[in-house]
Amino acid sequence: MNLHAIRAIYRFEMNRTGRTLLQSVLAPVLSTTLYFVVFGAAIGSRIDEIGGVSYGAFIVPGLVMLSLLTQSVTNAAFGIYFPKFTGTIYELLSAPVSFLEIVIAYVGAAATKSILLGVIILMTATLFVPLRIAHPGWMIAFLVLTAVTFSLFGFIIGIWADGFEKLQIVPLLIITPLTFLGGSFYSIDMLPPFWQKVTLLNPVVYLISGFRWSFYGIADVSVAVSLSMTALFMVICLLAIWWIFRTGWRLKS
């Protein structure tokens, strides 16, 4: 293991975030606050409790997931896309590092950032709603697993992208809709039976359901299914990345 390399890349990535600290923290905190004002206070007061949880509190896990998913994908995608864009990727490709080390460093940094962000959003949420975490261990497990998995996914997007549009198109056109439709703001048994079935095809449903269960002990699907789906997606991402480095796809000519 080239630990020096992992540390060098990880630190480089964290420094890059440090330089844009204000916008990378302020933006999600602001948007979370807006969600609470609109959904929690204004609309939420007219919505019944769901499974014994007030609507404001109910949406907290979904809101954290929303940021966690988009930030993981965006951070990781940008982290590996940027050296391709500036041409500094030559150094990474010519360095004595394995694909595993590169992935650990970039994905590790991206996941760290989005986890920190998730924690910040949770803390912001406590200002608005009484928060209770039934299974803290599982809560952290879901947080980390999701951050890592979607950072892996973002890493793939970053390698695939050959322009800034492609870099943004996946979070914008895939992640955000899937999260909104994945039960961030509602329980899926509020939907008509047909749409409930369709919704189960959305992988984000399992993440949000599992994550919400770790808070309130209520879930749309069983926790075991949630965990397996997340793990499955992670394995798929790992295989894809392994293939990318083996073939040099979009990295080497």
Binding site: H4, T86, Y90
Partner: protein
């Protein structure tokens, strides 16, 4: 001593179907300055890319200090420093941070003393806290060299280190490369400036259209392929070259006061003795003679011409 770098039958065909390298075999000796000389598009960057792991070879093997660049890529790459052709840098990192980053990336533990030495050698120490974006082009080029030297490589690749650089900076670069060689680093540079190869290299490899046309110790190259010109300054101008001298490669100067004889030093007989004899027989007398060796440029042009 075994060569520090060895390429055997390396070929590269890009996905576009374009064959950029054709069966290249080459050995680089430890501690030498080797110039890979060739026109734009000859395949120089491709060749370096294959050695450094940026481009996948279609076939052939490359070893650095005995280590295969694919099978033992860790050991091989740790010995290589690469300064790319393009000035690719981050913008907002500091000089010190980016050079330290390179050292870590190549698997070496922190060593501020070494980073300081490298920066001082490249006259960048005063700029250590400056953001890269504030550096001039020449400084950025030196910064890339500093990054490449941060992990103490044995072999340094400089891909067109002086392309688009003014004369002053080019001389600085030459001085720098020589100083590097003094420290025992093997330097492989590419260039399309003949002058540069002539000035710096111990050996020159000429590459054209993906093929190594020739590899030769520089002085040997000059000696072997150098064409010499013998200029005879005549006592009295002549109207034309006499019929009797038609068998010689002769040219009469504009002012008709000098004859220029071109001959190949490679030939066993230069024909000078016979020429002088025949001149004397033709009643042409001269007051002075001068010889001139052709530059690498002329050699190169004749080589590339022969190939096509």
């Amino acid at each position: 001593m075994p060569p520090v770098l060895s390429l055997a039958h390396v070929s590269k065909t890009y996905d576009s179907g374009f064959q950029a390298l054709k069966d290249v075999s080459l050995e680089i000796e430890r501690g030498e300055i080797f110039a890979l000389l060739g026109p734009n598009g000859a395949g120089k960057t491709t060749l370096i890319g294959i050695i450094c792991g940026i481009v996948k070879a279609s076939s052939g093997t490359v070893t650095v200090d005995g280590q295969d660049v694919v099978a033992d890529y860790r050991a091989a790459r740790a010995k290589i420093g690469l300064v790319p052709q393009e000035l690719a840098t981050d913008a907002f990192e500091s000089v010190w941070a980016t050079v330290s980053f390179s050292r870590g990336l190549f698997g070496k533990p922190r060593n501020p003393a070494h980073i300081e030495k490298v920066l001082r050698d490249l006259s960048l120490y005063d700029k250590r806290d400056a953001k890269i974006i504030t550096l001039s082009g020449g400084m950025k080029r030196r910064l890339l060299i500093a990054k490449a030297l941060a992990h103490e490589p044995e072999v340094l690749f400089l891909d067109e280190p002086t392309a688009g650089v003014d004369v002053e900076l080019r001389r600085d670069m030459w001085r720098l490369v020589r100083a590097l060689r003094e420290t025992g680093v093997t330097v492989i540079l590419t260039t399309h400036y003949i002058e540069e190869a002539e000035e710096m290299a111990d050996r020159v490899g000429v590459i054209n259209k993906g093929e190594i046309v020739l590899v030769e110790e520089k002085h040997e190259l000059m000696r072997k392929l150098g064409r010499k010109e013998l200029t005879l300054y005549l006592h009295d101008p002549i109207e034309a070259i006499p019929e009797a001298l038609a068998g010689y490669d002769l040219e009469l100067s504009q002012d008709r006061c000098a004859l220029v004889y071109t001959f190949d030093t490679q030939r066993e007989r230069t024909g000078i003795t016979a020429l002088l004899q025949d001149l004397s027989n033709a009643g042409i007398h001269f007051r002075d003679i001068e010889t001139r060796e052709s530059s690498l440029e002329e050699i190169f042009v004749s080589l590339v011409k022969e190939e096509t």
